[in-house]
Symmetry: C2
C-alpha cells in the first residue's frame, strides 16, 4: 500500500490504492486558452478565480495551476495565481510548469505540501527538479519520457518510471512521493494506446508500487464524442489501478464515472457519496427516493 499525501494549509488529500480516486482539476492552464492567457498576462485573474471555485464545486480534490504564457513573466504570474487560489479554496495544489524557475517560485508561494508537475526522465530535468522537490518536501509527477522522447514500447516507459523513482531515492525522496504519469496517447492515432497504457498502469502498481496519474482526456483526441469516450477510459484505468487523473471535473459524465468507479472499487463506504450525489427526491420532497425509483422501474417493465 502506497499513500501519497499532499496538502494545503488546512486540508490533506491522499492518493492511494485503497483510497477514493483523486481528481486534479486541469482548467487553470492558459495553454490553448487564448482569452485566459491574455487576461492573466494583463493581470486580470477573475477567470482563474472562477475556474478554481467551479472545479472545487464540481468535485476536484486538487487544483493544477499553470501560468505558461509565451513572453510573460511566468514565475510572477504563477505565484499570483497560486496565492489567489489558496485564498479562495482549501484544496491542495499541483504546481504545473515546464520552467524550473516558475516551479521554484510556485513552491515558495504554496502553503502545505504541493504536487510538483512535473519531472521527466530527461537528465537535465532530473537534476533541476528533484532537488526542488526535496528542498520543499513536495510530491512530484514523474512523466515516462526521457532524452530519447516518448517510447511507444511500454517496457521502455516502465524503465523510465523506474529510473525516476530510483533517482528520486538518491535525492532522499521516497517512492510514495513520486506519482507516475504513464503518458496516455490518442487511441485514434495509436490503436493500441489504451491497451498498452492500461497494461503499464497495472505494472506500475504491482511492480513499482507507485501511485499514478494521467491526462485522461488525451485518449480521445481527434475522435468525435470525446465526452462519451473519456468516462469509459477512466473507468478502465481505475479498474487497472490508476489512482488519480489530471482532468476536467466540469465534465459531468467523467465525474459520474469516477464516482461510480469509487463505488465499484469499494472505495465509497456504504455507497454514501454515490447515494448523496444521485438520490432522487422522494414524494415528500427531501426523502431519498429508493422506493419511488423502484416503482418507476417496475412501471417501465411492461
Amino acid at each position: 500500500m502506497t499513500d501519497t499525501i499532499i496538502s494545503s494549509a488546512s486540508r490533506e488529500v491522499v492518493l492511494g490504492f485503497d483510497r477514493p480516486f483523486v481528481i486534479i482539476g486541469e482548467r487553470i492552464n492558459p495553454t490553448g486558452r487564448k482569452l485566459l492567457a491574455e487576461e492573466m498576462k494583463a493581470g486580470n485573474f477573475d477567470r482563474v478565480a472562477a475556474d478554481a471555485l467551479a472545479q472545487v464545486a464540481a468535485g476536484a480534490h486538487v487544483l493544477d495551476v499553470n501560468a505558461g504564457i509565451p513572453l510573460a513573466d511566468e514565475p510572477a504570474l504563477l505565484v499570483e495565481a497560486i496565492r489567489l487560489v489558496q485564498s479562495l479554496t482549501d484544496v491542495p495544489l499541483s504546481i504545473d510548469s515546464s520552467v524550473p524557475e516558475a516551479l521554484e517560485a510556485g513552491l515558495e508561494a504554496c502553503e502545505g505540501k504541493a504536487l510538483l508537475n512535473s519531472v521527466t526522465g530527461e537528465e537535465d530535468r532530473l537534476e533541476h527538479i528533484l532537488p526542488l522537490v526535496k528542498k520543499h518536501g513536495a510530491a512530484v509527477v514523474a512523466i515516462c519520457n526521457d532524452d530519447d522522447g516518448i517510447s511507444t514500447d511500454i517496457n521502455v516507459r516502465f524503465e523510465v518510471a523506474k529510473k525516476i523513482v530510483n533517482r528520486a531515492a538518491d535525492h532522499g525522496i521516497p517512492a510514495c512521493d513520486v506519482v507516475v504519469d504513464p503518458l496516455v496517447m490518442p487511441v485514434g492515432a495509436m490503436p493500441d494506446a489504451s491497451v498498452q497504457v492500461l497494461a503499464l498502469i497495472r505494472r506500475l502498481r504491482s511492480e513499482l508500487k507507485v501511485n499514478t496519474t494521467c491526462g485522461a482526456s488525451n485518449v480521445s483526441f481527434g475522435l468525435p464524442n470525446r465526452h462519451g469516450l473519456n468516462p469509459t477510459f477512466i473507468a478502465m484505468a481505475i479498474g487497472a489501478g490508476m489512482t488519480s487523473a489530471i482532468t476536467n471535473p466540469l465534465e459531468a459524465s467523467l465525474m459520474q464515472a469516477v464516482r461510480g468507479a469509487d463505488v465499484l472499487m469499494n472505495h465509497d463506504p456504504q455507497c454514501a457519496n454515490w447515494i448523496s450525489t444521485f438520490r432522487e427526491p422522494g414524494p415528500q420532497g427531501g426523502r431519498p427516493g429508493g422506493r419511488r425509483g423502484g416503482r418507476r422501474r417496475r412501471a417501465e417493465k411492461t
Copy 2:
C-alpha cells in the same frame, strides 16, 4: 485465444478475447414484466416482436429469449417466441429457461447454433443440460453456483466454473463452447462484489481461458442512478477481460460504454464503428464534422 461461435441460419457471432464485445439483449423475458407475461400467455407476441426489433436496432448482437411464465406451457411459448424472433431478425439466439423441457424444445426450434442459458454446477442441472448441449451442438452459459448455492468466495466460484468446464469436456463439449457467468452481485449489498467479480473475470480469462458473460446491471441493484453506474461497471469488466453481457441494449449510456470499450481495447479497427455512430454532421450536412468539432472545442476554451 478462445472463440465461441454461435449462429442463426445466416449469421455468425463470435465471442473472443480479440473480438468486439458481444451484447446479448435481455428484454424478451416475462420475469418481472407483468404485461408481457399476460400477453404471451394469451398468445399475443406483438411485444416480443417489437422488443426483438428494437434491441437489434440498438445494437444487440444476440437475443436472449425467455418464456418463463408461472402456470403456462413454457416449452410451447418459448418455441413460438423463438420462431417469431427468427422470422424477424437474423441474429443468433440465447435460449433461456430454468426448465430442461423448455430448453430442449427451444433447441429443436432454433436454427443455427444457439447459446443455451444456462447450466450451473448443480449435479442434476449438469446431468440434464450438458447432454442437450452436446446433442444440439450448442454453446452454453455456465453459472458459477452449485448445490451449495452462490459462494461469496470467488475461489469457490472459480472452482465451480472449472468443474462445469471439466464436466462439459466429459460430455464432449469443448471449453470454447462454455461461456462462464461469474455472477455479478449487487454492490449496494456486498461492498466488495465488484472488486471480487473483476478479479474472477481476470482469472477465468487467464487461467481457465474461457469466454465470459454476466447480467451486468445486477451490480447496481438497489442504488439510485443505476443507468449512471452500469456503464462504468461494464467498462471495468471489459477491461478485466469480459467478452459479453446479457443486458439491455436500449440503455444508450451502456451501449456508448461498450462501443467506447471496443475502441479502447483496440477491437474497433480505425475506430470505424465509433466514428460512424458518433460523428457530428458537418456544415454541408453529411460531411464528418472533425473540423467543426475542433472549432467549437477551441471556442469553449475561453
